[in-house]
């Protein structure tokens, strides 16, 4: 796999689980000053990326287990830990329903989420992003169209990506109740 294909794999198999992972983690790094959720996710992604991807059969389970290991490492390094935190970590030895069940967003839901996020971007930032991603403009063409320097376009795009990727840390409003919706969803069959 070339890097593009690897990134696509990552986007398809790993990223959709991030909101659930963050939610799951946020209740568990409480009282642990040395690590925050962002850092655990970054570290988990680094390990997933450099590890043997061919051996990963269930990226969701792998991601959760890796994150749990990372929290465990922080835990061993830190001296003072809230007692309920240890209890939480112990309870994570089994792969529960939360870990194994995931509802994938439909294309329409993904698109709706993207548009919702775009509403929150500063105007120039959003314009540059939309020209890039929806009109396939090059950076130069965006610069001409908006009457700004190419380096400014790059800054707008970087900021847009930062804001979009921040927003993607949380599940979209409609999918908050993913587990219940999933049951209903499959019942139609």
């Amino acid at each position: 796999m070339d890097r593009q294909a690897q990134l696509r794999w990552f986007a398809r198999e790993v990223l959709p689980h991030e909101p659930d992972l963050r939610k799951w983690l946020s209740g568990r790094v409480r009282g642990l000053d040395s690590c925050d959720v962002d850092e655990v996710v970054q570290e988990a992604y680094a390990r997933l990326w450099t590890g043997d991807r061919d051996a990963i059969r269930n990226a969701r389970a792998y991601l959760f287990v890796t994150a749990r290991h990372i929290v465990g490492e922080h835990l061993r390094r830190s001296r003072i830990v809230a007692i309920d935190f240890v209890a939480d970590l112990d309870s994570l030895n089994i792969i529960d329903e939360e870990m194994s069940v995931h509802r994938r967003l439909s294309g329409q839901e993904e698109l709706a989420r993207l548009y919702e996020i775009l509403q929150t971007l500063p105007p120039k930032c959003r314009q540059a992003f939309e020209l890039k991603k929806f009109q396939d403009f090059s950076q130069r063409k965006i610069a001409e169209h908006m009457g700004i320097a190419e380096s400014t376009v790059e800054k707008h795009l970087a900021k847009a990506l930062r804001l979009v990727s921040d927003a993607m840390k949380e599940a979209p409003a409609g999918a908050q109740d993913g587990r219940q919706r999933e049951r209903r969803f499959w019942k139609w069959g």
Partner: protein, 328 residues
């Protein structure tokens, strides 16, 4: 931006700012030598930098896929040069708003739905009909006041049509029109031609490619094939039809079934067989949702759930408990 890309690990949020800046740069143009060195140095400083960078790159790339879902105009219809830059956006935004209102609205250019290989997607349309899209398939939903039209672009789709005599439901595939009022049927663009299989009710096959002036009626458990060599109709038995549409559900759901029963189910759709020799493991209760045919994921998840391992033996995936594992 040059100064924002500096060494030092920083906290999670700082790392993300730098990671997104690098992701944009490396995606939009080749990095020059100095930049490449800076990036390499930054990545080596802390493994979290790599994680954040990969995340930012993957999100940036994945937005292309999501943006392409925007009505499919990019792939199907060339955008006219005079199109105002926001035309397509405004249209898609109206879909987005409708989606948040609870139902998904479709207009002429929007409503494109596609799947990748191995993915089956089940979609409730806003009239109550249900569309199930097989892997590597694409449809375009065009609902109008007097007709509900779905165009099969590629692959295969199954339809459970909500009854509405005033508003016929028509599936078009390669110049073939399949019209239904309250029924269940499957349309596929196969190598040999367009194939229509009726599970329940009656459909009328019509259109340029149907090879006859009058519509042909296809009934329950019948199959119509419009091949290059001509049209033919076959009668199937119920089991054939069921096998034909087994993909439609696309997933296997286990909700506390014994692992042995779950494995038997998985094995029906896979060349790789999951084998469980340990009797206590075979009786363990299991939960999860798996794609049809994905025996490897199933075996991996079961192994993780019960602290076991998977050993590949020819075309068998043998699930065993680890030697020193406590009983579960």
């Amino acid at each position: 931006m040059e100064d924002s890309v500096s060494a030092g690990s920083g906290n999670g949020a700082d790392i993300e700012s730098e990671a997104t800046a690098w992701a944009i740069r490396s995606a939009e143009r080749p990095l020059d030598r100095a930049e490449q060195l800076l990036l390499d140095e930054w990545l080596e400083t802390d493994s979290r930098h790599l994680g954040a960078f990969v995340r930012a790159q993957a999100i940036w790339l994945d937005i292309d896929r999501v943006a392409a879902l925007d009505g499919g105009t990019q792939r199907d219809v060339p955008v006219p040069a005079h199109n105002p830059p926001w035309g397509r956006y405004a249209m898609a935004a109206s879909i987005a708003l409708a989606a948040f209102g609870g139902t998904v609205a479709y207009d002429h250019l929007a409503g494109r739905i596609s799947t990748e290989r191995g993915e089956v997607r089940r979609i409730a349309l806003d009239d109550g009909s249900i569309l199930t899209l097989n892997g590597n398939s694409a449809v375009q939903v065009r609902y109008e006041d007097d007709v509900r039209r779905v165009i099969l672009r590629r692959g295969e789709a199954s339809f459970e049509v909500a009854h509405n005599r005033q508003r016929p439901f028509i599936v078009s595939a390669n110049d073939l029109d399949v019209r239904a009022v309250g029924t269940e049927f499957v349309v596929g663009i196969e190598e040999e031609g367009v194939e229509v299989t009726v599970e329940d009710g009656v459909v009328a096959v019509d259109g340029k490619a149907a090879g006859s002036a009058r519509p042909r009626y296809i009934r329950r458990n019948e199959q119509f094939v419009m091949a290059a060599t001509g049209a033919r109709k076959a009668v199937l038995d119920t089991a054939d039809v069921e096998r034909r549409i087994a993909w439609r559900k696309g997933v296997l759901v286990f909700n506390g079934q014994q692992l042995s029963a779950a494995a038997a189910e998985v094995n029906r759709y896979s060349n790789l067989r999951v084998v469980i020799e340990d009797p206590t493991l075979a009786r363990a209760e299991f939960m999860g949702v798996f794609k049809l045919g994905d025996a490897e994921t199933f075996a991996g998840a079961a192994a993780q759930a019960f602290n076991g391992e998977v050993v590949r033996r020819g075309d068998e995936l043998v699930l065993t408990r680890q030697q020193n594992s406590p009983s579960h």
